[in-house]
C-alpha cells in the first residue's frame, strides 16, 4: 500500500524546473535532514511524493531532492537553490 505526501511549494517549484522521466511523473532520490536517504521514489505532477503506507515523511525534513538520473547526475539541487 502506498500513500501520497504533498511537497512544499519550494520543492514543487524545484521539480517543475526539472525534466520528467515519463508523462506526469519524476523519479527522485531524497535526502532528509537527519541523513536518511530515500532512493528511487516517484513524484506525481511534481507535487505528490509516493511513499509506503507505513512511512512518515515530513516534507519540512527534506534536505535534498534530485532526479534519479545516474547517467548524467542532472537535477541535483538543494531545496531553495532556485
Amino acid at each position: 500500500m502506498t500513500k501520497k505526501v504533498k511537497l512544499l511549494d519550494t520543492q514543487i517549484k524545484l521539480l517543475e524546473s526539472l525534466p520528467e522521466q515519463g508523462m506526469g511523473f519524476q523519479i527522485v532520490d531524497i535526502e532528509l535532514k537527519n541523513g536518511q536517504k530515500l532512493a528511487n521514489r516517484i513524484v506525481f505532477n511534481s507535487t505528490y511524493l509516493q511513499v509506503n503506507e507505513e512511512e512518515f515523511i515530513d516534507p519540512l525534513q527534506i534536505e535534498l531532492i534530485k532526479l534519479h538520473d545516474e547517467k548524467n547526475g542532472n537535477g541535483a539541487k538543494k531545496v531553495g537553490d532556485n
Binding site: 517543475e16 520528467e20 515519463g22 508523462m23 506526469g24 516517484i42
Partner: protein, 233 residues
C-alpha cells in the same frame, strides 16, 4: 480471482526463482482439476488469476492492502508436480504473441526505442500533441505563457485518439506508475522551431506500454498550448 496459496504450495514456490522482484508467474493445474492456468503469485502466497480481470484484482490489492486481501481470500491448492515458474524471457515471448491477438485492435505499437533513444526532429507546425494527466493543474503546462515546460513528455494526438477510440487503458498504454484515473487532456501544437524526440513507450511499472511518446527537452514555444479537455471528450 484472488486466492491464498495452500501452505505446501507456498513452500514449493519459496524454493523456486522469482519472475521479477516480489512475484512469480506460474503455470499450474488446480488440485483435482485438469487444464493449466496461469497465475501471478506475490510473495509466494497471494495468487491472482492472469486473465482479463487481472487489472481489477490488482487494483483491489493495492487499494485494500496485501494483508487484508490475503486474510480473506479462499485457499488455492495446486497439483504440486504441475507447478512451473515462468522466467522473464518466456513472459516477453508470450506477450509478443499476445500482442497480435489482444493489443492489435488497440493499435499499440511495438519497438524497443523510447523517445530519448531516438534522434531529435523539428515539429512540422501542424501536428498536435496531447498530454494526459490526473491533475487539472498539470505542472508541465505553463498556463501563463501557454506552452509546454522543458523536459516534458506528451503523446501524439493520433495516438491519444487511438487510445480513446479503442477504449484502451491509458495507464497501461503509456506505462504510468500510478493507478489514478486520467481525467484531463492538454493539447499542444508546437511550432517548427520546437524540437522533439519520439518513440514507443517501453514496458515499465508492470505495464506494457506501446503508446507513442514525444519528449520535448526544451519545451515548446509560447502560445503553443491551446486547449484543455476532459479525457476522452
Amino acid at each position: 480471482m484472488i486466492y491464498k496459496l495452500f501452505i505446501s504450495d507456498s513452500n514449493t514456490l519459496q524454493h523456486k526463482p522469482e519472475t521479477g522482484m516480489g512475484y512469480q508467474i506460474v503455470e499450474a493445474t488446480r488440485f483435482g482439476q485438469t487444464g493449466v492456468k496461469r497465475y501471478i503469485v506475490y510473495n509466494s502466497e497471494l495468487v491472482v488469476n492472469l486473465d482479463a480481470d487481472f487489472k481489477t484484482y490488482k487494483r483491489q490489492i493495492f487499494s485494500e492492502g496485501f494483508s487484508k486481501v490475503l486474510n480473506r481470500s479462499n485457499e488455492l491448492i495446486l497439483e504440486t508436480n504441475s507447478i512451473r515458474v515462468l522466467n522473464k524471457a518466456e513472459i516477453i515471448q508470450s506477450k509478443a504473441l499476445g500482442f497480435s491477438e489482444t493489443k492489435a485492435n488497440k493499435k499499440r505499437h511495438s519497438g524497443d526505442k523510447g523517445a530519448k533513444d531516438n534522434s531529435q526532429e523539428n515539429a512540422n507546425g501542424t501536428e498536435v500533441f496531447v498530454r494526459i494527466s490526473a491533475y487539472e493543474d498539470d505542472k508541465r503546462i505553463d498556463f501563463g505563457d501557454k506552452k509546454l515546460k522543458p523536459g516534458s513528455y506528451t503523446t501524439t494526438e493520433k495516438d491519444y485518439n487511438e487510445c480513446v477510440w479503442t477504449n484502451d487503458d491509458p495507464i497501461d498504454r503509456y506505462a504510468l506508475p500510478n493507478d489514478e484515473t486520467i481525467k484531463w487532456a492538454f493539447y499542444i501544437k508546437p511550432r517548427t522551431s520546437d524540437i522533439l524526440q519520439r518513440g514507443i513507450v517501453q514496458p515499465a511499472f508492470e505495464h506494457e506500454g506501446g503508446g507513442i511518446e514525444a519528449y520535448f527537452e526544451n519545451g515548446t514555444s509560447t502560445n503553443t498550448y491551446f486547449q484543455k479537455k476532459s479525457y476522452g471528450k
